[in-house]
Protein backbone atom coordinates (compact mmCIF):
# COMPACT_ATOMS: atom_id res chain seq x y z
CA UNK A 1 0.00 0.00 0.00
CA UNK A 2 2.76 2.46 0.96
CA UNK A 3 4.56 1.84 -2.32
CA UNK A 4 1.41 2.74 -4.25
CA UNK A 5 0.82 5.90 -2.25
CA UNK A 6 4.46 6.89 -2.74
CA UNK A 7 4.20 6.23 -6.47
CA UNK A 8 1.03 8.34 -6.71
CA UNK A 9 2.58 11.19 -4.77
CA UNK A 10 5.72 10.95 -6.90
CA UNK A 11 3.67 11.25 -10.07
CA UNK A 12 1.80 14.20 -8.61
CA UNK A 13 5.04 15.96 -7.70
CA UNK A 14 6.32 15.39 -11.23
CA UNK A 15 3.15 16.95 -12.58
CA UNK A 16 3.35 19.89 -10.22
CA UNK A 17 6.95 20.47 -11.29
CA UNK A 18 5.41 21.53 -14.60
CA UNK A 19 7.09 20.95 -17.93
CA UNK A 20 5.61 24.05 -19.53
CA UNK A 21 3.31 26.93 -18.80
CA UNK A 22 1.14 27.48 -21.83
CA UNK A 23 -0.58 30.87 -22.00
CA UNK A 24 -4.32 30.99 -22.71
CA UNK A 25 -3.74 32.40 -26.23
CA UNK A 26 -1.56 29.36 -26.99
CA UNK A 27 -4.32 26.89 -26.17
CA UNK A 28 -6.09 26.91 -29.50
CA UNK A 29 -5.10 23.34 -30.32
CA UNK A 30 -5.45 22.04 -26.77
CA UNK A 31 -9.01 23.37 -26.70
CA UNK A 32 -9.96 21.77 -29.99
CA UNK A 33 -12.82 19.27 -29.95
CA UNK A 34 -10.52 16.40 -30.96
CA UNK A 35 -8.24 17.13 -27.96
CA UNK A 36 -10.87 17.12 -25.24
CA UNK A 37 -10.60 13.93 -23.13
CA UNK A 38 -13.55 15.03 -20.98
CA UNK A 39 -15.76 14.74 -24.05
CA UNK A 40 -15.43 10.97 -23.88
CA UNK A 41 -16.10 10.66 -20.13
CA UNK A 42 -19.73 9.61 -20.67
CA UNK A 43 -18.68 7.12 -23.31
CA UNK A 44 -16.08 5.64 -20.96
CA UNK A 45 -18.62 5.23 -18.18
CA UNK A 46 -20.85 3.17 -20.47
CA UNK A 47 -17.93 1.16 -21.74
CA UNK A 48 -16.66 0.45 -18.26
CA UNK A 49 -20.00 -1.06 -17.40
CA UNK A 50 -19.74 -3.84 -19.99
CA UNK A 51 -15.95 -4.24 -19.85
CA UNK A 52 -16.30 -4.92 -16.11
CA UNK A 53 -18.32 -7.99 -17.01
CA UNK A 54 -15.49 -9.47 -19.10
CA UNK A 55 -12.26 -8.30 -17.44
CA UNK A 56 -11.50 -8.59 -13.73
CA UNK A 57 -9.04 -5.72 -13.62
CA UNK A 58 -11.12 -2.58 -13.59
CA UNK A 59 -10.77 0.10 -10.95
CA UNK A 60 -13.90 -1.01 -9.19
CA UNK A 61 -15.61 2.37 -8.85
CA UNK A 62 -19.17 3.23 -9.87
CA UNK A 63 -20.82 0.18 -8.36
CA UNK A 64 -19.64 -3.36 -8.83
CA UNK A 65 -23.00 -4.45 -10.24
CA UNK A 66 -22.83 -7.93 -8.78
CA UNK A 67 -26.49 -8.72 -9.22
CA UNK A 68 -26.69 -7.62 -12.82
CA UNK A 69 -27.71 -10.31 -15.26
CA UNK A 70 -25.20 -8.91 -17.71
CA UNK A 71 -22.48 -9.70 -15.21
Amino acid sequence: MRRWIALGLGLAVLALAGCATVAPFQREYLADRIMDPAASARERALERHWLDTREGASGGALGAGGGCACN
Partner: protein, 390 residues
Protein backbone atom coordinates in the same frame (compact mmCIF):
# COMPACT_ATOMS: atom_id res chain seq x y z
CA UNK B 1 -39.64 -14.74 -19.32
CA UNK B 2 -40.50 -16.47 -16.05
CA UNK B 3 -41.08 -14.15 -13.16
CA UNK B 4 -42.81 -14.62 -9.84
CA UNK B 5 -45.42 -12.17 -8.59
CA UNK B 6 -42.94 -10.71 -6.15
CA UNK B 7 -40.44 -10.14 -8.95
CA UNK B 8 -43.03 -8.67 -11.27
CA UNK B 9 -43.99 -6.27 -8.50
CA UNK B 10 -40.36 -5.30 -7.99
CA UNK B 11 -39.79 -4.89 -11.70
CA UNK B 12 -42.95 -2.85 -12.00
CA UNK B 13 -41.80 -0.51 -9.26
CA UNK B 14 -38.38 -0.29 -10.92
CA UNK B 15 -39.89 0.54 -14.30
CA UNK B 16 -42.08 3.21 -12.76
CA UNK B 17 -39.08 4.71 -10.93
CA UNK B 18 -37.01 4.79 -14.11
CA UNK B 19 -39.80 6.31 -16.17
CA UNK B 20 -40.31 8.91 -13.45
CA UNK B 21 -36.58 9.69 -13.45
CA UNK B 22 -36.41 10.00 -17.23
CA UNK B 23 -39.56 12.14 -17.23
CA UNK B 24 -38.08 14.35 -14.51
CA UNK B 25 -34.95 14.74 -16.63
CA UNK B 26 -37.01 15.89 -19.59
CA UNK B 27 -39.26 18.13 -17.47
CA UNK B 28 -36.25 19.78 -15.85
CA UNK B 29 -35.08 20.67 -19.32
CA UNK B 30 -38.45 22.06 -20.35
CA UNK B 31 -38.80 24.06 -17.15
CA UNK B 32 -35.28 25.52 -17.08
CA UNK B 33 -34.99 29.31 -17.20
CA UNK B 34 -34.36 30.76 -20.65
CA UNK B 35 -30.80 31.75 -21.38
CA UNK B 36 -29.28 29.40 -18.81
CA UNK B 37 -26.49 26.98 -19.79
CA UNK B 38 -28.32 23.79 -20.55
CA UNK B 39 -27.25 20.63 -22.31
CA UNK B 40 -29.03 17.40 -23.07
CA UNK B 41 -27.13 14.20 -23.79
CA UNK B 42 -28.91 11.09 -25.02
CA UNK B 43 -27.38 7.76 -26.00
CA UNK B 44 -28.58 4.39 -27.20
CA UNK B 45 -26.08 1.60 -26.61
CA UNK B 46 -26.41 -1.92 -27.99
CA UNK B 47 -24.23 -4.84 -26.85
CA UNK B 48 -24.39 -8.30 -28.43
CA UNK B 49 -21.94 -11.10 -27.74
CA UNK B 50 -21.03 -14.51 -29.08
CA UNK B 51 -22.96 -16.20 -26.23
CA UNK B 52 -26.12 -14.59 -27.70
CA UNK B 53 -26.54 -12.26 -24.73
CA UNK B 54 -27.93 -8.88 -25.70
CA UNK B 55 -28.10 -5.64 -23.73
CA UNK B 56 -29.90 -2.48 -24.84
CA UNK B 57 -29.10 0.64 -22.87
CA UNK B 58 -30.85 4.01 -23.06
CA UNK B 59 -29.22 6.97 -21.33
CA UNK B 60 -30.43 10.53 -20.94
CA UNK B 61 -28.62 13.28 -19.09
CA UNK B 62 -29.63 16.85 -18.48
CA UNK B 63 -27.09 19.46 -17.33
CA UNK B 64 -28.23 22.85 -16.03
CA UNK B 65 -25.90 25.74 -15.17
CA UNK B 66 -27.02 28.33 -12.59
CA UNK B 67 -25.67 31.14 -10.40
CA UNK B 68 -22.62 31.50 -12.63
CA UNK B 69 -20.39 29.01 -10.80
CA UNK B 70 -22.77 26.10 -10.31
CA UNK B 71 -24.16 23.35 -12.47
CA UNK B 72 -26.34 20.37 -11.69
CA UNK B 73 -26.96 17.25 -13.72
CA UNK B 74 -29.39 14.38 -13.62
CA UNK B 75 -28.61 11.20 -15.52
CA UNK B 76 -31.00 8.31 -16.02
CA UNK B 77 -30.08 4.99 -17.61
CA UNK B 78 -32.07 1.87 -18.38
CA UNK B 79 -30.50 -1.51 -19.25
CA UNK B 80 -32.63 -4.19 -20.83
CA UNK B 81 -30.76 -7.50 -20.67
CA UNK B 82 -31.80 -10.46 -22.81
CA UNK B 83 -30.21 -13.85 -22.14
CA UNK B 84 -30.86 -16.95 -24.29
CA UNK B 85 -32.10 -20.33 -23.01
CA UNK B 86 -29.47 -22.50 -21.31
CA UNK B 87 -28.08 -25.39 -23.30
CA UNK B 88 -28.39 -28.31 -20.88
CA UNK B 89 -30.55 -29.40 -17.96
CA UNK B 90 -30.27 -27.42 -14.72
CA UNK B 91 -27.43 -28.79 -12.63
CA UNK B 92 -25.70 -30.55 -15.51
CA UNK B 93 -22.04 -29.93 -16.21
CA UNK B 94 -23.04 -28.28 -19.46
CA UNK B 95 -25.21 -25.81 -17.61
CA UNK B 96 -22.58 -25.05 -15.04
CA UNK B 97 -20.53 -23.71 -17.92
CA UNK B 98 -23.54 -21.94 -19.36
CA UNK B 99 -24.31 -20.28 -16.06
CA UNK B 100 -20.81 -18.94 -15.86
CA UNK B 101 -21.33 -17.06 -19.09
CA UNK B 102 -24.56 -15.42 -17.98
CA UNK B 103 -25.55 -14.93 -14.39
CA UNK B 104 -29.21 -15.80 -14.64
CA UNK B 105 -31.05 -17.55 -11.85
CA UNK B 106 -32.44 -20.99 -12.73
CA UNK B 107 -35.25 -22.37 -10.60
CA UNK B 108 -36.67 -25.08 -12.89
CA UNK B 109 -35.89 -27.11 -16.01
CA UNK B 110 -38.73 -25.40 -17.88
CA UNK B 111 -37.55 -21.93 -16.96
CA UNK B 112 -33.96 -22.72 -18.01
CA UNK B 113 -35.25 -23.40 -21.55
CA UNK B 114 -36.84 -19.98 -21.86
CA UNK B 115 -35.36 -16.59 -22.62
CA UNK B 116 -34.51 -14.55 -19.57
CA UNK B 117 -35.18 -10.83 -19.45
CA UNK B 118 -33.92 -8.45 -16.84
CA UNK B 119 -33.91 -4.69 -16.39
CA UNK B 120 -31.55 -2.39 -14.55
CA UNK B 121 -32.37 1.20 -13.70
CA UNK B 122 -29.73 3.74 -12.84
CA UNK B 123 -29.98 7.32 -11.66
CA UNK B 124 -27.14 9.74 -10.93
CA UNK B 125 -27.47 13.27 -9.56
CA UNK B 126 -24.44 15.57 -9.57
CA UNK B 127 -23.65 19.07 -8.39
CA UNK B 128 -20.57 20.96 -9.57
CA UNK B 129 -18.98 24.18 -8.37
CA UNK B 130 -16.52 25.76 -10.82
CA UNK B 131 -16.27 29.54 -10.50
CA UNK B 132 -14.84 31.30 -13.55
CA UNK B 133 -11.34 32.70 -13.11
CA UNK B 134 -10.62 30.61 -10.02
CA UNK B 135 -8.29 27.68 -9.82
CA UNK B 136 -10.35 25.56 -7.44
CA UNK B 137 -13.42 23.51 -8.31
CA UNK B 138 -15.40 20.78 -6.59
CA UNK B 139 -18.20 18.36 -7.33
CA UNK B 140 -20.30 15.71 -5.66
CA UNK B 141 -22.63 13.01 -6.90
CA UNK B 142 -24.96 10.27 -5.77
CA UNK B 143 -25.58 7.14 -7.82
CA UNK B 144 -28.18 4.43 -7.43
CA UNK B 145 -28.53 1.25 -9.54
CA UNK B 146 -31.50 -1.06 -9.10
CA UNK B 147 -32.35 -4.55 -10.35
CA UNK B 148 -34.89 -7.10 -9.17
CA UNK B 149 -32.24 -8.67 -6.93
CA UNK B 150 -29.72 -5.88 -6.47
CA UNK B 151 -29.47 -2.35 -5.16
CA UNK B 152 -26.19 -0.47 -5.54
CA UNK B 153 -25.53 3.03 -4.26
CA UNK B 154 -22.50 5.28 -4.33
CA UNK B 155 -21.70 8.75 -3.02
CA UNK B 156 -18.64 10.51 -4.41
CA UNK B 157 -16.85 13.84 -4.17
CA UNK B 158 -14.04 15.45 -6.11
CA UNK B 159 -11.79 18.45 -5.51
CA UNK B 160 -9.52 19.80 -8.25
CA UNK B 161 -7.10 22.69 -8.47
CA UNK B 162 -5.13 24.32 -11.30
CA UNK B 163 -1.68 25.84 -11.16
CA UNK B 164 0.63 27.61 -13.61
CA UNK B 165 -2.20 29.40 -15.33
CA UNK B 166 -4.06 26.15 -15.88
CA UNK B 167 -1.09 24.22 -17.26
CA UNK B 168 -1.01 21.92 -14.24
CA UNK B 169 -4.03 20.37 -12.57
CA UNK B 170 -4.50 17.95 -9.73
CA UNK B 171 -7.77 16.19 -8.93
CA UNK B 172 -8.63 14.01 -5.94
CA UNK B 173 -11.75 11.89 -6.06
CA UNK B 174 -13.19 9.78 -3.27
CA UNK B 175 -16.20 7.47 -3.41
CA UNK B 176 -18.05 5.20 -1.03
CA UNK B 177 -20.32 2.52 -2.44
CA UNK B 178 -22.66 0.09 -0.72
CA UNK B 179 -24.48 -2.74 -2.47
CA UNK B 180 -27.29 -5.01 -1.27
CA UNK B 181 -28.07 -8.34 -2.97
CA UNK B 182 -31.30 -10.26 -2.54
CA UNK B 183 -30.86 -13.31 -4.80
CA UNK B 184 -33.84 -14.69 -6.68
CA UNK B 185 -34.78 -18.36 -6.25
CA UNK B 186 -32.08 -20.56 -7.81
CA UNK B 187 -31.30 -24.30 -7.93
CA UNK B 188 -28.53 -25.12 -5.41
CA UNK B 189 -28.47 -21.42 -4.60
CA UNK B 190 -28.58 -19.56 -1.33
CA UNK B 191 -31.30 -16.88 -1.16
CA UNK B 192 -29.78 -15.19 1.90
CA UNK B 193 -29.41 -11.43 1.48
CA UNK B 194 -25.83 -10.24 1.10
CA UNK B 195 -24.04 -6.91 1.12
CA UNK B 196 -20.71 -5.34 0.34
CA UNK B 197 -19.11 -1.92 0.42
CA UNK B 198 -16.24 -0.27 -1.39
CA UNK B 199 -14.06 2.77 -0.89
CA UNK B 200 -12.35 4.23 -3.93
CA UNK B 201 -9.69 6.97 -4.04
CA UNK B 202 -8.29 8.34 -7.29
CA UNK B 203 -5.59 10.96 -7.69
CA UNK B 204 -5.07 12.38 -11.19
CA UNK B 205 -2.52 14.96 -12.35
CA UNK B 206 -2.74 16.66 -15.72
CA UNK B 207 0.12 18.60 -17.25
CA UNK B 208 0.34 20.65 -20.42
CA UNK B 209 3.63 19.75 -22.04
CA UNK B 210 3.47 22.14 -25.01
CA UNK B 211 0.82 24.10 -26.95
CA UNK B 212 -0.08 20.84 -28.73
CA UNK B 213 0.61 18.17 -26.11
CA UNK B 214 -0.91 17.30 -22.76
CA UNK B 215 -0.48 14.34 -20.42
CA UNK B 216 -2.24 12.99 -17.40
CA UNK B 217 -1.34 10.30 -14.95
CA UNK B 218 -2.64 8.99 -11.70
CA UNK B 219 -3.25 6.25 -9.23
CA UNK B 220 -6.45 4.53 -8.09
CA UNK B 221 -7.02 2.45 -4.97
CA UNK B 222 -10.19 0.52 -4.27
CA UNK B 223 -10.94 -1.53 -1.17
CA UNK B 224 -13.95 -3.85 -1.29
CA UNK B 225 -15.38 -5.68 1.69
CA UNK B 226 -18.29 -8.12 1.74
CA UNK B 227 -19.93 -10.66 -0.56
CA UNK B 228 -18.13 -10.73 -3.93
CA UNK B 229 -19.28 -14.03 -5.43
CA UNK B 230 -22.07 -14.50 -7.93
CA UNK B 231 -25.06 -15.97 -6.04
CA UNK B 232 -26.24 -17.80 -9.21
CA UNK B 233 -22.92 -19.29 -10.23
CA UNK B 234 -22.06 -22.88 -9.32
CA UNK B 235 -18.69 -24.60 -9.55
CA UNK B 236 -17.94 -28.26 -10.21
CA UNK B 237 -15.45 -29.13 -7.45
CA UNK B 238 -14.37 -32.55 -6.23
CA UNK B 239 -17.30 -34.22 -8.00
CA UNK B 240 -19.89 -31.90 -6.44
CA UNK B 241 -21.82 -28.89 -7.67
CA UNK B 242 -21.13 -26.14 -5.15
CA UNK B 243 -21.80 -22.40 -4.95
CA UNK B 244 -19.02 -20.09 -6.03
CA UNK B 245 -17.04 -18.74 -3.10
CA UNK B 246 -14.70 -15.73 -3.37
CA UNK B 247 -12.74 -13.97 -0.61
CA UNK B 248 -14.68 -11.23 1.16
CA UNK B 249 -11.98 -8.58 0.92
CA UNK B 250 -10.16 -7.23 -2.11
CA UNK B 251 -7.68 -4.39 -2.52
CA UNK B 252 -7.33 -3.16 -6.09
CA UNK B 253 -4.56 -0.83 -7.27
CA UNK B 254 -4.01 0.80 -10.61
CA UNK B 255 -1.66 3.37 -12.10
CA UNK B 256 -2.52 4.99 -15.40
CA UNK B 257 -1.11 7.55 -17.82
CA UNK B 258 -2.35 9.17 -21.00
CA UNK B 259 -0.64 11.43 -23.51
CA UNK B 260 -2.48 13.36 -26.20
CA UNK B 261 -1.01 15.35 -29.08
CA UNK B 262 -2.48 17.57 -31.78
CA UNK B 263 -0.96 16.64 -35.10
CA UNK B 264 -0.66 18.59 -38.29
CA UNK B 265 -3.39 18.04 -40.89
CA UNK B 266 -6.19 18.59 -38.32
CA UNK B 267 -5.74 15.33 -36.47
CA UNK B 268 -4.83 14.19 -32.98
CA UNK B 269 -3.48 11.00 -31.45
CA UNK B 270 -3.50 9.69 -27.91
CA UNK B 271 -2.09 6.73 -26.07
CA UNK B 272 -3.27 5.50 -22.70
CA UNK B 273 -1.48 2.97 -20.49
CA UNK B 274 -2.75 1.25 -17.37
CA UNK B 275 -1.20 -1.25 -14.99
CA UNK B 276 -3.29 -3.04 -12.39
CA UNK B 277 -2.70 -5.44 -9.49
CA UNK B 278 -4.77 -6.67 -6.58
CA UNK B 279 -4.47 -9.00 -3.61
CA UNK B 280 -6.28 -11.77 -5.52
CA UNK B 281 -3.05 -11.71 -7.59
CA UNK B 282 -4.68 -10.52 -10.76
CA UNK B 283 -2.19 -8.43 -12.73
CA UNK B 284 -3.17 -6.61 -15.88
CA UNK B 285 -1.88 -4.19 -18.47
CA UNK B 286 -3.89 -2.15 -20.96
CA UNK B 287 -2.91 -0.03 -23.97
CA UNK B 288 -5.53 2.21 -25.56
CA UNK B 289 -4.71 4.17 -28.73
CA UNK B 290 -6.94 6.74 -30.43
CA UNK B 291 -6.52 8.65 -33.67
CA UNK B 292 -8.94 11.48 -34.42
CA UNK B 293 -9.21 13.11 -37.82
CA UNK B 294 -11.37 15.96 -39.13
CA UNK B 295 -13.13 15.06 -42.35
CA UNK B 296 -14.50 18.13 -44.07
CA UNK B 297 -15.08 21.22 -41.95
CA UNK B 298 -16.59 19.72 -38.81
CA UNK B 299 -17.03 15.96 -39.03
CA UNK B 300 -14.67 13.92 -36.83
CA UNK B 301 -13.70 10.28 -37.43
CA UNK B 302 -12.06 8.37 -34.59
CA UNK B 303 -10.15 5.12 -34.97
CA UNK B 304 -9.37 3.14 -31.88
CA UNK B 305 -7.41 0.08 -30.80
CA UNK B 306 -7.27 -1.33 -27.27
CA UNK B 307 -5.26 -4.29 -26.00
CA UNK B 308 -5.72 -5.81 -22.56
CA UNK B 309 -3.90 -8.69 -20.92
CA UNK B 310 -4.35 -10.12 -17.46
CA UNK B 311 -3.33 -13.06 -15.28
CA UNK B 312 -5.72 -15.31 -13.35
CA UNK B 313 -6.64 -14.92 -9.68
CA UNK B 314 -4.62 -17.26 -7.48
CA UNK B 315 -7.66 -19.36 -6.58
CA UNK B 316 -9.09 -19.69 -10.09
CA UNK B 317 -8.91 -23.14 -11.68
CA UNK B 318 -10.57 -24.63 -14.74
CA UNK B 319 -11.23 -27.74 -12.66
CA UNK B 320 -11.18 -28.11 -8.87
CA UNK B 321 -10.17 -31.54 -7.63
CA UNK B 322 -11.41 -30.97 -4.05
CA UNK B 323 -14.66 -29.41 -2.74
CA UNK B 324 -12.57 -26.93 -0.75
CA UNK B 325 -11.12 -25.46 -3.94
CA UNK B 326 -7.94 -23.45 -3.39
CA UNK B 327 -7.47 -22.09 0.14
CA UNK B 328 -11.20 -22.62 0.65
CA UNK B 329 -12.21 -20.55 -2.40
CA UNK B 330 -13.89 -21.72 -5.63
CA UNK B 331 -14.53 -19.61 -8.69
CA UNK B 332 -16.30 -20.04 -12.01
CA UNK B 333 -15.88 -16.36 -12.83
CA UNK B 334 -14.51 -15.99 -16.34
CA UNK B 335 -13.31 -12.47 -15.41
CA UNK B 336 -10.75 -14.00 -13.06
CA UNK B 337 -8.99 -16.22 -15.62
CA UNK B 338 -6.06 -15.48 -17.91
CA UNK B 339 -7.19 -13.42 -20.85
CA UNK B 340 -5.88 -11.29 -23.69
CA UNK B 341 -8.40 -9.09 -25.46
CA UNK B 342 -8.47 -6.80 -28.48
CA UNK B 343 -10.89 -4.05 -29.35
CA UNK B 344 -11.15 -2.18 -32.66
CA UNK B 345 -13.42 0.81 -32.94
CA UNK B 346 -14.68 3.43 -35.33
CA UNK B 347 -16.66 6.51 -34.31
CA UNK B 348 -18.08 9.35 -36.37
CA UNK B 349 -19.14 12.65 -34.77
CA UNK B 350 -21.13 15.14 -36.81
CA UNK B 351 -21.50 18.62 -35.27
CA UNK B 352 -24.19 20.87 -36.69
CA UNK B 353 -22.47 24.24 -36.95
CA UNK B 354 -23.39 27.04 -39.29
CA UNK B 355 -26.56 25.35 -40.50
CA UNK B 356 -29.63 26.62 -38.63
CA UNK B 357 -29.22 28.79 -35.49
CA UNK B 358 -31.43 26.49 -33.42
CA UNK B 359 -29.19 23.53 -34.33
CA UNK B 360 -25.91 25.18 -33.30
CA UNK B 361 -23.90 22.98 -30.95
CA UNK B 362 -25.82 19.79 -31.71
CA UNK B 363 -23.45 16.84 -32.13
CA UNK B 364 -24.54 13.44 -33.45
CA UNK B 365 -22.37 10.41 -32.63
CA UNK B 366 -22.30 6.95 -34.15
CA UNK B 367 -19.90 4.27 -32.92
CA UNK B 368 -19.13 0.66 -33.71
CA UNK B 369 -16.64 -1.50 -31.80
CA UNK B 370 -15.59 -5.12 -32.15
CA UNK B 371 -14.22 -6.89 -29.07
CA UNK B 372 -12.72 -10.37 -28.96
CA UNK B 373 -10.56 -12.26 -26.48
CA UNK B 374 -8.39 -15.35 -26.13
CA UNK B 375 -11.26 -17.30 -24.51
CA UNK B 376 -13.27 -17.43 -27.75
CA UNK B 377 -15.55 -14.61 -26.67
CA UNK B 378 -16.51 -11.83 -29.08
CA UNK B 379 -18.90 -8.89 -28.90
CA UNK B 380 -20.28 -6.13 -31.08
CA UNK B 381 -20.97 -2.73 -29.57
CA UNK B 382 -23.09 -0.19 -31.38
CA UNK B 383 -23.75 3.25 -29.96
CA UNK B 384 -25.75 6.20 -31.27
CA UNK B 385 -26.35 9.44 -29.46
CA UNK B 386 -26.42 13.21 -29.43
CA UNK B 387 -25.35 16.16 -27.26
CA UNK B 388 -27.31 19.34 -27.56
CA UNK B 389 -26.49 22.56 -25.67
CA UNK B 390 -29.18 25.22 -25.82
Amino acid sequence: MQLTGRHESRLGRGRRATRAALAATVLLGVGAPAGADETVHATYHSFSDSAKNHVDTWVMEYVQGFADAWSASLRGALDRVHLPPLAGLPGSQENIDAITTASRPVHSAVQSKQDYLKERQELTGSLQWAPRGQSLRASGSYYVSRESDFLGQQASGEVARNWNGGSTALALRGAYGFDALHPDAHLNGNATGQSRSNVDVTLTATQTLSPVTQASFGVELTAIRGFQSNPYRNVYAGGQILPELHPETRLRRAVFAECERYLTSRASASIGLRYYTDDWRVRAGTVDVHFNQYVGDHCIVRYRYRYHTQTAAYFFRDLYTAPGGVDGYRSGDYKLQDVDSNLFGLKVSVPFEGTAPWLDGLVLDLKYERYFDSNSFAANVLEAGFSWPF
